[in-house]
């Protein structure tokens, strides 16, 4: 959801950044399993990346802040498997399959996983959409607080910036996070001055660049 606690940019008092020396890729076997199960079901077609972002954000705020990254993935994956009727809470509790209905897709072959992990598979769509903005255009980000998933961070709303780059056409997360309808939109990198975002006491030299879908923007 839009203004959930996952939207952390600019918050204070979240704690110190703790760096672990010689950190392993996974700390426990359950992290390996959560990671690989998520990738395998994602790549098999059970859900889209934006959908698991949504279910992770829908965790209760205190739980979100007090759990680790792969616990977020686990919560998000379980929520999606239930939502998609792949399995039931009863099956999750027992660890045993109890019925055969529900969403079924062929398991992802390891060759397909290997291919996806090592080859460019562009996420942009080949839609004939004219970009509304060009490099150098001044834009105003919408003061939007929709009651659904979105990817415009709260600190970057209702502010003025400049189009730095045209990226490509991608599917708008606001609808993609619900499995569709597909809404192809241009994505721009938008440059903001720190003073615009954080006020006159912020650095006069520094800038923040945020990836923005076109419908997050209007002409300044």
């Amino acid at each position: 959801m839009t203004n959930s606690v996952h939207d952390l940019g600019g918050m204070d008092n979240i704690g110190p950044v703790i760096v672990e020396e010689n950190e392993p890729v996974f700390h426990n076997d359950w992290e390996r399993r959560v990671f690989s199960l998520t990738l395998a079901t994602l790549a098999a077609g059970y859900f889209r990346t934006d959908e698991i972002r949504r279910t992770i954000e829908d965790m209760p705020a205190d739980e979100y802040l007090s759990t680790s990254y792969y616990e977020h993935w686990l919560a998000g994956l379980v929520a999606l498997m239930l939502e998609k009727n792949v399995l039931t809470t009863s099956e999750l509790a027992s660890g045993k399959s109890e019925r055969d209905e529900g969403m079924r897709l062929p398991p992802l072959p390891k060759e397909a996983a290997q291919f996806a992990m090592t080859n460019p598979l562009p996420a942009n769509v080949d839609a004939k959409v004219q970009p509304r903005f060009k490099i150098g255009d001044r834009v105003h980000t919408r003061n939007m607080h929709p009651m659904h998933h979105t990817r415009i961070p709260r600190y970057g709303r209702d502010k003025e910036g400049v189009i730095d780059t045209l990226q490509a056409v991608f599917l708008l997360p606001d609808t993609n996070a619900y499995g569709g309808p597909d809404t192809p939109e241009h994505v721009y990198t938008v440059r903001f001055s720190y003073q615009e975002l954080f006020g006159p006491e912020a650095s006069p030299k520094d800038s923040l660049y945020i990836d923005m879908f076109e419908s997050y923007l209007e002409p300044a």
Binding site: V17, K96, D100, Y155, F198
Partner: protein, 200 residues
């Protein structure tokens, strides 16, 4: 963060993962060989050494560097490093005037195919909050002290594009090979929380 003592009762999270995996497998929805392939790839194949090769090559090949900065995706793919969370790439160059820092405030987007999976601190709430709020203070905590006249550019990776920082080549590296140079390049330097130190 430490390994669980297997004589003690399993914590709730491990039990839930086991149950989830068991049900998905019993239903025939996931394949063990695929899970192993995925884990092996991210645990053993990809990592910051790939990004370090890209950086070292950019330091030694002006034409490659120009193409890398102009079109990160195509240039990195051309030398065989593409894949999930790394197909759309933008490379940002650190110079004497500009320091780049990458964050994903809304989740933890990261260029998997060039840097591997992100470290815990990159995915943590404190980093995501502070990288945009106080990048200079954060950088100092990472040991990077910037002059006031250096411009900081923070990249909040909220969409499909992933960012790689091209660190400045340190002094004292004239004549070093691509492989030698790549040994100097750290993961943090390619996120922007570190700089590449001259050879010891």
């Amino acid at each position: 963060m430490s390994e669980h003592d297997h004589s003690a009762p399993l914590p709730d999270v491990e039990l839930r993962v086991r149950a989830l995996e068991a049900v998905l497998k019993e239903k025939g929805l996931v394949d063990e060989a695929t899970l192993d392939t995925v884990i092996d790839h991210y645990e053993n194949k990809v990592g910051p050494h790939i990004g370090a090769q890209v950086v070292a090559r950019a330091w030694t090949d002006p034409d490659f560097k120009a193409r890398l900065l102009a079109d990160g995706s195509a240039t990195i793919a051309e030398i065989g490093h593409a894949g999930l969370e790394g197909t759309h790439m933008a490379v940002k160059e650190n110079t004497a005037q500009v320091h780049n820092l990458v964050v994903c405030t809304l989740c933890s987007c990261y260029p998997w195919s060039t840097l591997g999976l992100p470290p815990t601190w990159y995915k943590s709430a404190p980093y995501r909050a502070r990288a945009v709020r106080d990048p200079r203070g954060l950088l100092e905590d990472f040991g990077v002290k910037l002059d006031d006249d250096v411009e900081v550019r923070v990249w909040d990776s909220t969409a499909e594009q992933r960012y790689l920082v091209l660190p400045a080549r340190p002094d004292g590296t004239d004549g070093m090979s691509v492989d030698e140079l790549s040994e100097l390049v750290t993961r943090d330097a390619m996120i922007g929380t570190g700089i590449v130190a001259p050879p010891a």
